[in-house]
Amino acid sequence: MDFLVEPFEAGFVRDGAIAAALVGVLCGVVGCYVILRGMALMADSLAHGVLPGIAVAFALTAGAAGEEPNELAIALGALVAGLVTAFATSAIMQRSRVRPETAAAVVFVFMLALGVVLISRVQSYSVDLTSFLFGDVLGVGTGEILASAISVVAVAALVVLLYRPLLLISFDRQRAAALGLPVDRLELLLLVLVTLAVVVGFQVVGALLVLGLLMAPPAAAALLTRRLPAMMLVSAGIAAASAPIGLLLSWHLDIAAGAAIVLVAVSVFVVLLVVRPAPS
Protein backbone atom coordinates (compact mmCIF):
# COMPACT_ATOMS: atom_id res chain seq x y z
CA MET A 1 0.00 0.00 0.00
CA ASP A 2 2.99 2.27 0.45
CA PHE A 3 3.11 2.31 -3.30
CA LEU A 4 -0.24 4.16 -3.31
CA VAL A 5 0.32 6.45 -0.34
CA GLU A 6 3.96 7.42 -0.64
CA PRO A 7 3.63 10.10 -3.36
CA PHE A 8 0.88 11.91 -1.48
CA GLU A 9 2.94 12.29 1.66
CA ALA A 10 4.62 15.17 -0.14
CA GLY A 11 2.58 18.36 0.31
CA PHE A 12 3.16 19.62 -3.23
CA VAL A 13 1.82 16.35 -4.69
CA ARG A 14 -1.25 16.50 -2.44
CA ASP A 15 -1.91 20.10 -3.47
CA GLY A 16 -1.40 19.16 -7.12
CA ALA A 17 -3.83 16.24 -6.79
CA ILE A 18 -6.50 18.44 -5.17
CA ALA A 19 -6.10 21.22 -7.76
CA ALA A 20 -6.09 18.78 -10.68
CA ALA A 21 -9.14 16.93 -9.31
CA LEU A 22 -11.04 20.23 -9.01
CA VAL A 23 -10.02 21.22 -12.53
CA GLY A 24 -11.10 17.73 -13.59
CA VAL A 25 -14.57 18.23 -12.12
CA LEU A 26 -14.84 21.64 -13.79
CA CYS A 27 -13.69 20.37 -17.19
CA GLY A 28 -15.67 17.14 -16.83
CA VAL A 29 -18.93 19.07 -16.41
CA VAL A 30 -18.31 21.88 -18.92
CA GLY A 31 -16.81 19.39 -21.38
CA CYS A 32 -20.18 17.62 -21.65
CA TYR A 33 -21.51 20.68 -23.47
CA VAL A 34 -18.34 20.86 -25.59
CA ILE A 35 -18.95 17.28 -26.73
CA LEU A 36 -22.72 17.58 -27.18
CA ARG A 37 -22.54 20.82 -29.15
CA GLY A 38 -19.56 19.80 -31.29
CA MET A 39 -17.46 22.64 -29.88
CA ALA A 40 -14.10 20.82 -29.85
CA LEU A 41 -12.41 23.28 -32.20
CA MET A 42 -14.00 26.15 -30.29
CA ALA A 43 -12.49 24.81 -27.06
CA ASP A 44 -9.12 24.46 -28.80
CA SER A 45 -9.44 28.05 -30.00
CA LEU A 46 -10.17 29.27 -26.47
CA ALA A 47 -7.25 27.28 -25.07
CA HIS A 48 -4.84 29.04 -27.44
CA GLY A 49 -6.70 32.35 -27.45
CA VAL A 50 -5.59 33.05 -23.88
CA LEU A 51 -1.96 33.40 -25.03
CA PRO A 52 -1.94 37.16 -25.86
CA GLY A 53 -3.48 37.98 -22.48
CA ILE A 54 -0.81 35.95 -20.70
CA ALA A 55 1.95 37.64 -22.71
CA VAL A 56 0.64 41.13 -21.91
CA ALA A 57 0.24 40.31 -18.20
CA PHE A 58 3.73 38.83 -18.15
CA ALA A 59 5.25 41.88 -19.83
CA LEU A 60 3.46 44.25 -17.45
CA THR A 61 4.25 42.45 -14.21
CA ALA A 62 7.55 40.60 -14.74
CA GLY A 63 9.42 43.60 -16.03
CA ALA A 64 12.76 43.45 -17.79
CA ALA A 65 14.78 42.31 -14.81
CA GLY A 66 13.48 38.75 -14.94
CA GLU A 67 11.25 39.09 -11.88
CA GLU A 68 8.52 36.51 -11.23
CA PRO A 69 5.28 37.53 -12.96
CA ASN A 70 2.16 38.15 -10.91
CA GLU A 71 0.07 34.98 -11.10
CA LEU A 72 -3.25 36.76 -10.55
CA ALA A 73 -2.43 39.15 -13.39
CA ILE A 74 -1.56 36.18 -15.61
CA ALA A 75 -4.90 34.55 -14.79
CA LEU A 76 -6.82 37.79 -15.41
CA GLY A 77 -4.94 38.38 -18.67
CA ALA A 78 -5.80 34.86 -19.79
CA LEU A 79 -9.45 35.35 -18.82
CA VAL A 80 -9.74 38.64 -20.73
CA ALA A 81 -8.07 37.18 -23.84
CA GLY A 82 -10.26 34.08 -23.60
CA LEU A 83 -13.40 36.21 -23.38
CA VAL A 84 -12.23 38.29 -26.36
CA THR A 85 -11.82 35.03 -28.29
CA ALA A 86 -15.30 33.85 -27.24
CA PHE A 87 -17.04 37.16 -28.04
CA ALA A 88 -15.23 37.60 -31.36
CA THR A 89 -16.13 34.08 -32.47
CA SER A 90 -19.72 34.52 -31.37
CA ALA A 91 -19.99 37.87 -33.19
CA ILE A 92 -18.65 36.39 -36.44
CA MET A 93 -21.09 33.48 -36.21
CA GLN A 94 -24.08 35.72 -35.55
CA ARG A 95 -23.33 38.34 -38.17
CA SER A 96 -22.42 36.08 -41.06
CA ARG A 97 -23.23 32.70 -42.50
CA VAL A 98 -19.70 31.48 -41.75
CA ARG A 99 -19.70 28.00 -40.23
CA PRO A 100 -18.90 27.89 -36.50
CA GLU A 101 -15.66 25.93 -36.98
CA THR A 102 -14.46 28.45 -39.56
CA ALA A 103 -15.19 31.36 -37.22
CA ALA A 104 -13.41 29.56 -34.38
CA ALA A 105 -10.38 28.74 -36.55
CA VAL A 106 -9.99 32.32 -37.84
CA VAL A 107 -10.09 33.80 -34.34
CA PHE A 108 -7.87 30.97 -33.06
CA VAL A 109 -5.02 31.62 -35.50
CA PHE A 110 -5.31 35.39 -35.04
CA MET A 111 -5.03 35.16 -31.26
CA LEU A 112 -2.24 32.59 -31.47
CA ALA A 113 -0.25 34.73 -33.91
CA LEU A 114 -0.85 37.83 -31.76
CA GLY A 115 0.36 35.91 -28.73
CA VAL A 116 3.54 34.80 -30.50
CA VAL A 117 4.19 38.38 -31.67
CA LEU A 118 3.82 39.68 -28.12
CA ILE A 119 5.99 36.90 -26.70
CA SER A 120 8.71 37.68 -29.23
CA ARG A 121 8.90 41.14 -27.66
CA VAL A 122 9.44 39.62 -24.19
CA GLN A 123 12.58 37.54 -24.47
CA SER A 124 12.55 36.10 -20.96
CA TYR A 125 9.16 34.55 -21.59
CA SER A 126 10.47 31.48 -23.43
CA VAL A 127 10.89 29.40 -20.28
CA ASP A 128 7.45 30.24 -18.93
CA LEU A 129 5.90 29.37 -22.30
CA THR A 130 6.55 25.73 -21.44
CA SER A 131 4.48 25.98 -18.29
CA PHE A 132 1.74 27.74 -20.28
CA LEU A 133 1.56 24.87 -22.73
CA PHE A 134 2.04 21.98 -20.31
CA GLY A 135 1.11 23.43 -16.92
CA ASP A 136 2.82 22.98 -13.60
CA VAL A 137 0.56 20.75 -11.56
CA LEU A 138 3.23 20.13 -8.91
CA GLY A 139 3.82 23.84 -8.47
CA VAL A 140 0.28 24.97 -7.67
CA GLY A 141 -0.37 27.05 -4.58
CA THR A 142 -3.32 27.79 -2.34
CA GLY A 143 -4.46 30.48 -4.79
CA GLU A 144 -4.93 28.00 -7.65
CA ILE A 145 -6.74 25.53 -5.38
CA LEU A 146 -9.07 28.25 -4.12
CA ALA A 147 -9.73 29.58 -7.63
CA SER A 148 -10.46 26.05 -8.84
CA ALA A 149 -12.84 25.37 -5.94
CA ILE A 150 -14.74 28.64 -6.44
CA SER A 151 -15.00 27.96 -10.17
CA VAL A 152 -16.37 24.47 -9.56
CA VAL A 153 -19.06 25.80 -7.21
CA ALA A 154 -19.99 28.68 -9.57
CA VAL A 155 -20.17 26.46 -12.65
CA ALA A 156 -22.12 23.74 -10.80
CA ALA A 157 -24.67 26.33 -9.63
CA LEU A 158 -25.05 27.73 -13.16
CA VAL A 159 -25.38 24.28 -14.70
CA VAL A 160 -28.10 23.31 -12.22
CA LEU A 161 -29.97 26.62 -12.56
CA LEU A 162 -29.76 26.66 -16.37
CA TYR A 163 -30.07 22.91 -16.87
CA ARG A 164 -33.19 23.07 -19.03
CA PRO A 165 -32.22 26.03 -21.27
CA LEU A 166 -28.72 24.65 -21.84
CA LEU A 167 -30.02 21.15 -22.54
CA LEU A 168 -32.58 22.52 -24.98
CA ILE A 169 -30.18 24.71 -26.98
CA SER A 170 -27.74 21.79 -27.11
CA PHE A 171 -30.38 19.34 -28.26
CA ASP A 172 -32.52 21.46 -30.56
CA ARG A 173 -31.61 25.08 -31.19
CA GLN A 174 -34.74 25.64 -33.29
CA ARG A 175 -37.02 24.31 -30.57
CA ALA A 176 -35.28 26.52 -28.02
CA ALA A 177 -35.87 29.56 -30.24
CA ALA A 178 -39.54 28.60 -30.66
CA LEU A 179 -39.90 28.55 -26.87
CA GLY A 180 -38.55 32.09 -26.76
CA LEU A 181 -35.20 31.28 -25.15
CA PRO A 182 -32.38 33.78 -25.76
CA VAL A 183 -30.42 31.27 -27.84
CA ASP A 184 -27.53 33.56 -28.82
CA ARG A 185 -26.96 34.71 -25.24
CA LEU A 186 -27.09 31.17 -23.89
CA GLU A 187 -24.58 30.05 -26.50
CA LEU A 188 -22.31 32.92 -25.50
CA LEU A 189 -22.67 31.86 -21.86
CA LEU A 190 -21.50 28.38 -22.80
CA LEU A 191 -18.43 29.90 -24.45
CA VAL A 192 -17.77 31.86 -21.26
CA LEU A 193 -18.03 28.65 -19.20
CA VAL A 194 -15.55 26.91 -21.50
CA THR A 195 -13.26 29.94 -21.22
CA LEU A 196 -13.44 29.75 -17.44
CA ALA A 197 -12.57 26.04 -17.49
CA VAL A 198 -9.64 26.72 -19.82
CA VAL A 199 -8.28 29.61 -17.74
CA VAL A 200 -8.49 27.65 -14.49
CA GLY A 201 -7.24 24.49 -16.16
CA PHE A 202 -4.25 25.85 -18.05
CA GLN A 203 -2.52 26.87 -14.83
CA VAL A 204 -2.66 23.27 -13.62
CA VAL A 205 -2.33 21.02 -16.67
CA GLY A 206 -1.44 23.54 -19.37
CA ALA A 207 -3.25 25.04 -22.34
CA LEU A 208 -2.64 22.00 -24.57
CA LEU A 209 -3.62 19.36 -22.06
CA VAL A 210 -6.67 21.09 -20.63
CA LEU A 211 -8.38 20.05 -23.86
CA GLY A 212 -7.80 16.44 -22.85
CA LEU A 213 -9.82 16.95 -19.68
CA LEU A 214 -12.53 18.80 -21.59
CA MET A 215 -12.91 16.06 -24.17
CA ALA A 216 -11.94 12.60 -22.91
CA PRO A 217 -13.99 12.25 -19.67
CA PRO A 218 -17.27 13.44 -21.26
CA ALA A 219 -16.64 11.20 -24.28
CA ALA A 220 -16.11 8.26 -21.91
CA ALA A 221 -19.19 9.17 -19.87
CA ALA A 222 -21.31 9.31 -23.03
CA LEU A 223 -20.55 5.62 -23.53
CA LEU A 224 -21.97 4.74 -20.11
CA THR A 225 -24.97 7.01 -19.62
CA ARG A 226 -28.23 7.87 -21.34
CA ARG A 227 -29.15 11.09 -19.47
CA LEU A 228 -27.22 14.36 -19.18
CA PRO A 229 -27.08 14.64 -15.35
CA ALA A 230 -25.62 11.12 -15.17
CA MET A 231 -23.19 11.96 -17.97
CA MET A 232 -21.96 15.01 -16.06
CA LEU A 233 -21.52 13.11 -12.80
CA VAL A 234 -19.66 10.22 -14.44
CA SER A 235 -17.54 12.62 -16.52
CA ALA A 236 -16.60 14.67 -13.45
CA GLY A 237 -15.81 11.45 -11.58
CA ILE A 238 -13.54 10.11 -14.31
CA ALA A 239 -11.73 13.45 -14.65
CA ALA A 240 -11.31 13.86 -10.89
CA ALA A 241 -10.05 10.28 -10.45
CA SER A 242 -7.58 10.76 -13.29
CA ALA A 243 -5.76 13.37 -11.18
CA PRO A 244 -4.43 11.18 -8.31
CA ILE A 245 -3.96 8.17 -10.61
CA GLY A 246 -1.99 10.29 -13.07
CA LEU A 247 0.15 11.76 -10.30
CA LEU A 248 0.77 8.26 -8.94
CA LEU A 249 2.02 7.13 -12.33
CA SER A 250 4.01 10.32 -12.72
CA TRP A 251 5.73 9.73 -9.37
CA HIS A 252 6.67 6.10 -9.94
CA LEU A 253 7.43 6.25 -13.67
CA ASP A 254 9.10 9.67 -13.54
CA ILE A 255 6.97 11.14 -16.30
CA ALA A 256 5.40 14.61 -16.74
CA ALA A 257 2.58 14.99 -14.20
CA GLY A 258 0.02 16.96 -16.27
CA ALA A 259 0.46 14.69 -19.27
CA ALA A 260 0.09 11.60 -17.06
CA ILE A 261 -3.28 12.88 -15.76
CA VAL A 262 -4.59 13.48 -19.27
CA LEU A 263 -3.27 10.11 -20.48
CA VAL A 264 -5.22 8.37 -17.72
CA ALA A 265 -8.42 10.22 -18.71
CA VAL A 266 -7.94 9.34 -22.39
CA SER A 267 -7.13 5.71 -21.49
CA VAL A 268 -10.45 5.38 -19.65
CA PHE A 269 -12.22 6.51 -22.82
CA VAL A 270 -10.27 4.08 -25.02
CA VAL A 271 -10.89 1.12 -22.68
CA LEU A 272 -14.62 1.89 -22.49
CA LEU A 273 -14.78 2.31 -26.24
CA VAL A 274 -13.41 -1.22 -26.64
CA VAL A 275 -15.33 -3.02 -23.90
CA ARG A 276 -18.68 -1.25 -23.84
CA PRO A 277 -20.99 -0.25 -26.69
CA ALA A 278 -23.05 2.92 -26.26
CA PRO A 279 -26.32 2.34 -24.37
CA SER A 280 -29.47 2.14 -26.48
Binding site: D172, L179, L223, R226
Partner: protein
Protein backbone atom coordinates in the same frame (compact mmCIF):
# COMPACT_ATOMS: atom_id res chain seq x y z
CA UNK B 1 -50.74 40.23 -29.39
CA UNK B 2 -54.43 40.24 -28.41
CA UNK B 3 -56.49 37.05 -28.23
CA UNK B 4 -58.16 37.76 -31.58
CA UNK B 5 -54.89 38.55 -33.35
CA UNK B 6 -53.99 36.36 -36.33
CA UNK B 7 -52.01 33.20 -35.61
CA UNK B 8 -49.26 34.44 -37.93
CA UNK B 9 -48.82 37.89 -39.37
CA UNK B 10 -46.06 38.91 -41.80
CA UNK B 11 -45.71 42.42 -43.16
CA UNK B 12 -43.23 43.06 -45.95
CA UNK B 13 -41.18 40.16 -44.60
CA UNK B 14 -37.86 39.79 -46.38
CA UNK B 15 -35.18 37.36 -45.27
CA UNK B 16 -31.84 37.27 -47.06
CA UNK B 17 -28.89 34.95 -46.71
CA UNK B 18 -25.64 36.39 -48.04
CA UNK B 19 -27.59 39.00 -49.99
CA UNK B 20 -29.79 36.36 -51.67
CA UNK B 21 -33.46 36.65 -50.73
CA UNK B 22 -35.05 33.49 -49.36
CA UNK B 23 -38.28 35.40 -48.78
CA UNK B 24 -39.18 38.70 -50.44
CA UNK B 25 -41.83 41.16 -49.28
CA UNK B 26 -44.20 38.56 -47.83
CA UNK B 27 -47.53 39.91 -46.59
CA UNK B 28 -49.64 37.29 -44.86
CA UNK B 29 -52.26 36.87 -42.16
CA UNK B 30 -53.15 33.37 -41.03
CA UNK B 31 -56.40 33.37 -39.02
CA UNK B 32 -56.48 31.51 -35.71
CA UNK B 33 -57.77 27.98 -35.49
CA UNK B 34 -57.29 27.12 -39.17
CA UNK B 35 -55.27 24.43 -40.85
CA UNK B 36 -52.90 25.70 -43.53
CA UNK B 37 -50.79 23.81 -46.07
CA UNK B 38 -47.72 25.67 -47.30
CA UNK B 39 -46.85 24.57 -50.83
CA UNK B 40 -43.77 25.36 -52.82
CA UNK B 41 -40.70 23.79 -54.42
CA UNK B 42 -37.47 23.27 -52.53
CA UNK B 43 -35.88 26.66 -51.90
CA UNK B 44 -39.26 28.42 -51.94
CA UNK B 45 -38.74 29.74 -48.41
CA UNK B 46 -41.11 27.44 -46.50
CA UNK B 47 -38.55 26.57 -43.81
CA UNK B 48 -37.32 30.17 -43.78
CA UNK B 49 -40.86 31.41 -43.10
CA UNK B 50 -41.12 29.07 -40.12
CA UNK B 51 -37.61 29.91 -38.91
CA UNK B 52 -38.28 33.66 -39.10
CA UNK B 53 -41.62 33.21 -37.31
CA UNK B 54 -39.99 31.48 -34.32
CA UNK B 55 -37.06 33.90 -34.25
CA UNK B 56 -34.32 31.74 -35.72
CA UNK B 57 -33.68 34.20 -38.56
CA UNK B 58 -33.83 37.96 -38.32
CA UNK B 59 -35.79 39.64 -41.12
CA UNK B 60 -33.72 41.79 -43.48
CA UNK B 61 -36.85 43.94 -43.79
CA UNK B 62 -40.41 43.85 -42.55
CA UNK B 63 -41.68 41.79 -39.67
CA UNK B 64 -43.27 38.52 -38.70
CA UNK B 65 -45.00 37.57 -35.46
CA UNK B 66 -46.99 34.74 -34.02
CA UNK B 67 -50.27 35.24 -32.16
CA UNK B 68 -49.30 33.14 -29.15
CA UNK B 69 -46.29 32.23 -27.07
CA UNK B 70 -47.48 28.60 -27.05
CA UNK B 71 -45.84 27.58 -30.30
CA UNK B 72 -44.67 24.11 -31.25
CA UNK B 73 -42.21 23.90 -34.11
CA UNK B 74 -41.11 20.56 -35.53
CA UNK B 75 -38.31 21.10 -38.06
CA UNK B 76 -37.80 19.00 -41.17
CA UNK B 77 -34.48 17.61 -39.96
CA UNK B 78 -33.03 17.34 -36.50
CA UNK B 79 -29.43 16.24 -36.66
CA UNK B 80 -28.74 14.73 -33.27
CA UNK B 81 -25.55 13.06 -32.14
CA UNK B 82 -26.57 9.39 -31.66
CA UNK B 83 -24.91 9.47 -28.24
CA UNK B 84 -26.77 12.59 -27.08
CA UNK B 85 -27.82 11.70 -23.53
CA UNK B 86 -31.58 12.23 -23.58
CA UNK B 87 -34.29 9.60 -23.50
CA UNK B 88 -37.49 9.78 -25.51
CA UNK B 89 -39.37 10.73 -22.34
CA UNK B 90 -36.87 13.59 -21.77
CA UNK B 91 -37.48 14.89 -25.29
CA UNK B 92 -41.26 14.79 -24.89
CA UNK B 93 -40.95 16.51 -21.50
CA UNK B 94 -39.12 19.39 -23.23
CA UNK B 95 -42.56 20.32 -24.56
CA UNK B 96 -43.44 21.29 -21.00
CA UNK B 97 -40.37 23.50 -20.46
CA UNK B 98 -42.24 26.66 -21.48
CA UNK B 99 -44.68 26.14 -18.59
CA UNK B 100 -42.19 24.65 -16.15
CA UNK B 101 -39.69 27.47 -16.43
CA UNK B 102 -36.07 26.86 -15.51
CA UNK B 103 -36.29 24.95 -12.24
CA UNK B 104 -39.86 23.90 -11.29
CA UNK B 105 -40.28 20.14 -11.03
CA UNK B 106 -42.80 18.53 -13.39
CA UNK B 107 -46.23 18.12 -11.74
CA UNK B 108 -48.58 15.16 -12.18
CA UNK B 109 -50.38 17.13 -14.89
CA UNK B 110 -47.10 17.67 -16.75
CA UNK B 111 -46.33 13.96 -16.59
CA UNK B 112 -49.83 13.09 -17.78
CA UNK B 113 -49.41 15.38 -20.78
CA UNK B 114 -46.09 13.67 -21.56
CA UNK B 115 -47.79 10.25 -21.32
CA UNK B 116 -50.63 11.50 -23.50
CA UNK B 117 -48.19 12.73 -26.13
CA UNK B 118 -46.32 9.44 -26.26
CA UNK B 119 -49.55 7.46 -26.34
CA UNK B 120 -50.98 9.59 -29.17
CA UNK B 121 -47.93 8.83 -31.29
CA UNK B 122 -47.62 5.18 -30.22
CA UNK B 123 -44.18 5.52 -28.64
CA UNK B 124 -44.91 4.76 -24.96
CA UNK B 125 -42.77 1.62 -25.19
CA UNK B 126 -39.79 3.73 -26.32
CA UNK B 127 -39.93 6.13 -23.35
CA UNK B 128 -36.61 5.01 -21.82
CA UNK B 129 -34.75 4.60 -25.11
CA UNK B 130 -32.01 7.05 -26.01
CA UNK B 131 -33.43 9.48 -28.60
CA UNK B 132 -30.38 9.16 -30.84
CA UNK B 133 -30.90 5.41 -31.19
CA UNK B 134 -34.34 5.84 -32.80
CA UNK B 135 -35.12 5.52 -36.51
CA UNK B 136 -36.08 8.63 -38.48
CA UNK B 137 -39.80 7.84 -38.19
CA UNK B 138 -39.57 7.18 -34.44
CA UNK B 139 -37.72 10.47 -33.94
CA UNK B 140 -40.42 12.31 -35.85
CA UNK B 141 -43.05 10.71 -33.63
CA UNK B 142 -41.16 11.72 -30.49
CA UNK B 143 -40.92 15.34 -31.67
CA UNK B 144 -44.62 15.39 -32.48
CA UNK B 145 -45.38 13.86 -29.06
CA UNK B 146 -43.41 16.79 -27.63
CA UNK B 147 -45.73 19.18 -29.50
CA UNK B 148 -48.75 17.33 -28.04
CA UNK B 149 -47.29 17.55 -24.53
CA UNK B 150 -46.73 21.26 -25.04
CA UNK B 151 -50.47 21.73 -25.63
CA UNK B 152 -49.51 24.37 -28.18
CA UNK B 153 -51.98 26.82 -29.70
CA UNK B 154 -49.96 27.18 -32.88
CA UNK B 155 -48.21 24.20 -34.48
CA UNK B 156 -45.63 24.63 -37.25
CA UNK B 157 -44.60 21.41 -38.99
CA UNK B 158 -41.94 21.43 -41.68
CA UNK B 159 -42.59 18.56 -44.09
CA UNK B 160 -43.53 16.08 -41.36
CA UNK B 161 -44.39 13.26 -43.79
CA UNK B 162 -41.10 13.34 -45.69
CA UNK B 163 -38.91 10.27 -45.23
CA UNK B 164 -41.10 8.45 -42.71
CA UNK B 165 -42.75 5.04 -43.05
CA UNK B 166 -46.44 4.44 -43.76
CA UNK B 167 -47.49 3.75 -40.12
CA UNK B 168 -45.79 6.97 -39.00
CA UNK B 169 -47.50 8.90 -41.81
CA UNK B 170 -50.81 7.49 -40.63
CA UNK B 171 -50.08 8.47 -37.02
CA UNK B 172 -49.15 12.00 -38.13
CA UNK B 173 -52.32 12.36 -40.20
CA UNK B 174 -54.41 11.25 -37.21
CA UNK B 175 -52.63 13.81 -35.03
CA UNK B 176 -53.23 16.60 -37.56
CA UNK B 177 -56.91 15.68 -37.59
CA UNK B 178 -56.99 15.79 -33.80
CA UNK B 179 -55.42 19.24 -33.74
CA UNK B 180 -57.85 20.49 -36.39
CA UNK B 181 -60.80 19.22 -34.38
CA UNK B 182 -59.42 20.90 -31.25
CA UNK B 183 -59.32 24.22 -33.10
CA UNK B 184 -55.56 24.62 -33.03
CA UNK B 185 -53.77 26.55 -35.72
CA UNK B 186 -51.76 24.04 -37.72
CA UNK B 187 -49.39 25.26 -40.44
CA UNK B 188 -47.71 22.48 -42.39
CA UNK B 189 -45.10 22.75 -45.13
CA UNK B 190 -45.67 20.03 -47.69
CA UNK B 191 -45.03 18.93 -51.27
CA UNK B 192 -48.22 16.91 -51.35
CA UNK B 193 -50.77 18.96 -53.26
CA UNK B 194 -53.33 16.17 -53.09
CA UNK B 195 -53.24 16.25 -49.28
CA UNK B 196 -53.03 20.06 -49.26
CA UNK B 197 -56.32 20.47 -51.10
CA UNK B 198 -58.00 17.52 -49.38
CA UNK B 199 -56.93 17.83 -45.73
CA UNK B 200 -56.42 21.56 -45.09
CA UNK B 201 -58.76 24.53 -45.00
CA UNK B 202 -56.29 27.02 -46.47
CA UNK B 203 -53.36 26.74 -48.85
CA UNK B 204 -50.40 29.11 -49.08
CA UNK B 205 -48.53 28.87 -52.37
CA UNK B 206 -45.06 30.21 -51.78
CA UNK B 207 -42.07 30.77 -54.01
CA UNK B 208 -39.97 33.31 -52.12
CA UNK B 209 -43.07 35.49 -52.23
CA UNK B 210 -46.75 34.77 -51.74
CA UNK B 211 -48.11 33.48 -55.05
CA UNK B 212 -51.57 32.77 -53.65
CA UNK B 213 -53.25 32.26 -50.28
CA UNK B 214 -56.81 31.20 -49.73
CA UNK B 215 -59.30 28.35 -49.44
CA UNK B 216 -57.81 25.07 -50.56
CA UNK B 217 -60.58 24.27 -53.02
CA UNK B 218 -60.23 27.46 -55.06
CA UNK B 219 -56.62 28.55 -54.63
CA UNK B 220 -54.67 25.79 -56.35
CA UNK B 221 -55.48 26.56 -59.94
CA UNK B 222 -53.19 25.23 -62.64
CA UNK B 223 -51.88 28.75 -63.31
CA UNK B 224 -51.07 29.28 -59.64
CA UNK B 225 -49.28 25.94 -59.48
CA UNK B 226 -47.20 26.70 -62.57
CA UNK B 227 -46.23 30.02 -61.05
CA UNK B 228 -45.51 28.49 -57.63
CA UNK B 229 -43.37 25.71 -58.98
CA UNK B 230 -41.73 27.97 -61.58
CA UNK B 231 -42.37 25.72 -64.55
CA UNK B 232 -40.97 22.67 -62.79
CA UNK B 233 -44.26 20.79 -63.00
CA UNK B 234 -45.94 19.06 -65.91
CA UNK B 235 -49.37 17.60 -66.32
CA UNK B 236 -49.40 13.82 -66.88
CA UNK B 237 -53.02 12.86 -67.49
CA UNK B 238 -54.89 13.99 -64.38
CA UNK B 239 -51.70 14.34 -62.32
CA UNK B 240 -49.45 17.34 -61.77
CA UNK B 241 -45.87 16.15 -61.28
CA UNK B 242 -42.91 18.10 -59.89
CA UNK B 243 -40.28 17.02 -62.43
CA UNK B 244 -37.35 18.47 -60.45
CA UNK B 245 -38.04 16.44 -57.32
CA UNK B 246 -40.25 13.66 -58.74
CA UNK B 247 -42.98 14.54 -56.26
CA UNK B 248 -46.47 13.72 -57.40
CA UNK B 249 -48.32 16.80 -56.30
CA UNK B 250 -51.82 16.47 -57.68
Amino acid sequence: MSADAPALRARGLTVEFGGVPALADVDLEVPRGRSVAVLGPNGAGKSTLFGAAVGLFDPSAGSVELGSSRVAFVPQHLDVDPTFPVTVADVVLMGRYGDLGWVRRPSREDRELVEEGMKALGISSLARRRFGSLSGGERQRALLAQAVAQDAEIVLLDEPLTGVDAPTQEAIRALLERWREAGRTVIVATHDLGAATRDYELVLCLNRRVVAFGPAATTCTEEVLYETFAGRIVRVGSLMVDVSEHHEIH
